[in-house]
Symmetry: C2
Subunit: 441 residues, 2 copies
């Protein structure tokens, strides 16, 4: 993409309303734009990051056997009256009347609707287990939305719902999601720590939240350093191996991990050797719940068991804050100059900077590199706009692409371009004819 | 995907509420489920088709130089008060009050918001032309929603918005979208005819709608058969060739094409030789508008021109009904037995039917074929559930995958499977070891 044909409205000054670094950097980099309190438009680079995260989340859900559907944003109120949550949900639920004065709402979550969908489609234990998920915009009318996409009112969430014939089978479904979350966050370039959590208004018997580590995180976290030992991204996982998956989960849940709200210093010291005691700050990006028959009973969600008797299904729900993750990754990965995108979610793989637009030799050299990279399938942002080198460098650092290739008249005379790694800051002079070879598709 | 692990709740009987064939077949095939009047959940196969259509629409927008963004579903009312459309839009607009009693709305379209986004990001004529689009759920509170996803209240639409420095430049942007629409519909396996249209409530000076041909279409159409001569899918298009693109558009707009509302029989006979007079029925799936400065003036959307003076930008908007297209394709492509998906949008490339589940030899043969196809990257639905052959054949025909591979004990003894083309009904006996080779990734 040529910057001269792109839409990336960079702000020179820090926006006043931004209290946290991800909000500030995302606004400054032209990734998002506020339309109303807690309501954002995603501009081209922001949209690309959002879609890359969404796709990784989707692939790991599919790999774990979950089936993707899409429920509408607007729901009829009746469903929620049936489950008893219509009144319980309070003012965070955006209530709407349609032109015929029927009570509707903008879905804040989907336990009721998915249970209803499942109930109409499945009658027998033979059709279990099932896990249905969707990635859809939700609305929660926060009193005081803030922190940009970290706590918006309209936000993109992946929510999955499992249905099983028994407590034990349901536990396996829960464990599969647990492991798939570890893989998902690892693929996003994040270090995530699962912690036992309160079940809160969703209810149920078991719950874990997943926090990613970021210096600016909302919660303090204390955990056993062994939790970071395994390479979840590369390791193969067999989701049909009930005992193996349970052992993986046990490997995590048996080790100490707590947010500051639940932290017990004495227990931490007793259970974790000093060298392995890790502390830091974290941001919640995922939350999973096992709630058994809490929704299936009031909603009459039964299947026929092997003996012909009806049984209530055992369920769990599993959320990942997809739009929140965009902000979370920026919180976890930035420096004073701007964002540092992990390769897997960067809006472009690299930036090509022409530091003297209008100099014929530099223009030609840049165009050649740009076209060769494009032909190779490398997604490159080419800064071909007029402007000073200083401003261009600052903008490239701000938007945080993993690599920069800088071409100017001085280097050109020696036949070289400068290749810079955004994360390490390392710079290297590379012969022009070797630049393209450095970047894979 | 094994059917025994899938979620495709097929209905045995015709649903009473379905007045048209696409609504009936999509409900029966378990693609969608109604949640409220005009509000649908997309079940796994429906979701897959929707996503495939969305992706083709996206690719052709990108190819024509449009940049993807995503605006929120909920908009503040102020924007619409500024343009004067808040009161004008009437009861179709879903109006909402948030917890602080602020007026919000569920966006029925996005001219106001995108103009505001553009205005903040672009100041100079040098940054033009720009075309920004998004693919987002819209809500229009129809009095009597019906016809399934063909006329829902919550629907997925691609809407693009072009911004240019002059009338002439704006015309080129309009022409590019015109041509990209022809390519888009061709890739979807559809015959689309563009027709001059009323600008209606969007306003402006020029407008065309695109109708796809379907026997059950809502409008009668009359057109010159030459309009179907060109292979839009395969032909290369250079969108920078202003004259060439204009000539392509002229090739269409100069030929007779009209819906029954505007049809002039005398003119039709005068302009079109008898052998080329085509009549049929059509469904509107796209609509493009050139409205010049209609929104830029009231919203103060100006850029600095080459002489330093401010100029109002010239704009157009370009819609494709993405969710409507799912129904439109079913209307255009079905028979008495069910849906016939074009290859490009089919939920699976093929169906593998085991007609005697439990017969060890058949099970083994099917598993081998299934695994080999999967390894090859062929997206296959394997019916591995118990049940009679008749019901299995009927379900496969109903869901309309382009190819069926049928394996049973009798054929197996001779070492053959039956390969059936859903569209032509042609059946062929194929040696078992050649089945996999028949299907490409």
């Amino acid at each position: 993409m040529r910057l001269s044909q792109y839409f990336m409205p960079i702000l020179r000054d820090d926006p006043k309303e931004a209290e946290i670094v991800s909000h500030r950097l995302m606004l400054r980099a032209g990734m998002i734009r506020q339309e109303a309190a807690g309501n954002y438009s995603w501009l081209p680079t922001g949209f690309k990051v959002l879609k890359k995260i969404e796709q990784i989340v989707r692939e790991e859900q599919d790999r774990a056997g979950a089936l993707e559907v899409l429920m509408p944003t607007i729901q009829p109120a009746e469903l929620w009256k049936k489950s008893g949550r219509y009144d319980a949900y309070g003012k965070e639920m955006l209530r709407i009347k349609d032109r015929h004065d029927r009570d509707m709402l903008f879905g804040p979550t989907n336990e009721e609707m998915i249970t209803d969908i499942f109930r109409q489609g499945v009658q027998s234990y033979k059709d279990l287990p099932r896990n249905l998920y969707h990635i859809q915009w939700k609305f929660r009318d926060e009193v005081r939305p803030r922190f940009g996409v970290m706590r918006g009112r309209e936000f993109l969430m992946k929510d999955a719902y499992s249905f099983d014939i028994s407590r034990e089978a349901g536990q396996h479904s829960y464990n599969k999601m647990f492991v798939s979350y570890l893989r998902t966050f690892a693929r996003l370039g994040l270090k995530a720590v699962p912690m036992r959590a309160e079940t809160g208004p969703i209810g149920g018997s078991d719950s874990h939240e997943f926090l990613i580590l970021a210096e600016t995180g909302e919660s303090g976290v204390f955990f056993d350093g062994d939790l970071h030992g395994m390479d979840w991204e590369k390791s193969g996982v067999n989701y049909d191996d009930v005992a193996g998956i349970a052992a993986m989960v046990e490997g995590f849940t048996s080790r100490y991990a707590a947010t500051d709200e639940k932290h017990d210093a004495a227990e931490f010291e007793r259970r974790v050797p000093e060298a392995k005691r890790m502390t830091g700050r974290g941001i919640e990006v995922g939350h999973i719940f096992f709630f058994g028959t809490k929704y299936s009973e009031p909603m009459g969600c039964e299947v026929q068991g092997p003996d012909g008797k009806k049984l209530f299904v055992h369920s769990g729900s599993y959320g990942i804050g997809v739009s929140r993750l965009v902000g979370g990754i920026v919180e976890a990965s930035h420096d004073d100059a701007g964002i540092i995108w992990p390769e897997a979610v960067a809006p472009f793989q690299m930036g090509l900077v022409n530091i003297k637009v209008g100099d014929a030799a530099v223009d030609v050299a840049c165009s050649r590199i740009y076209e060769a990279l494009q032909a190779k399938g490398v997604d490159v942002l080419y800064d071909d706009k007029e402007g000073g080198a200083g401003g261009k460098f600052a903008a490239m650092d701000l938007i945080g692409l993993p690599w920069q290739v800088i071409v100017g008249p001085r280097g050109l005379k020696e036949g070289i371009a400068e290749v810079k790694n955004r994360k390490t800051g390392a710079r290297e002079n590379v012969p022009l004819d070797q630049v393209v070879g450095r970047f894979g598709a």
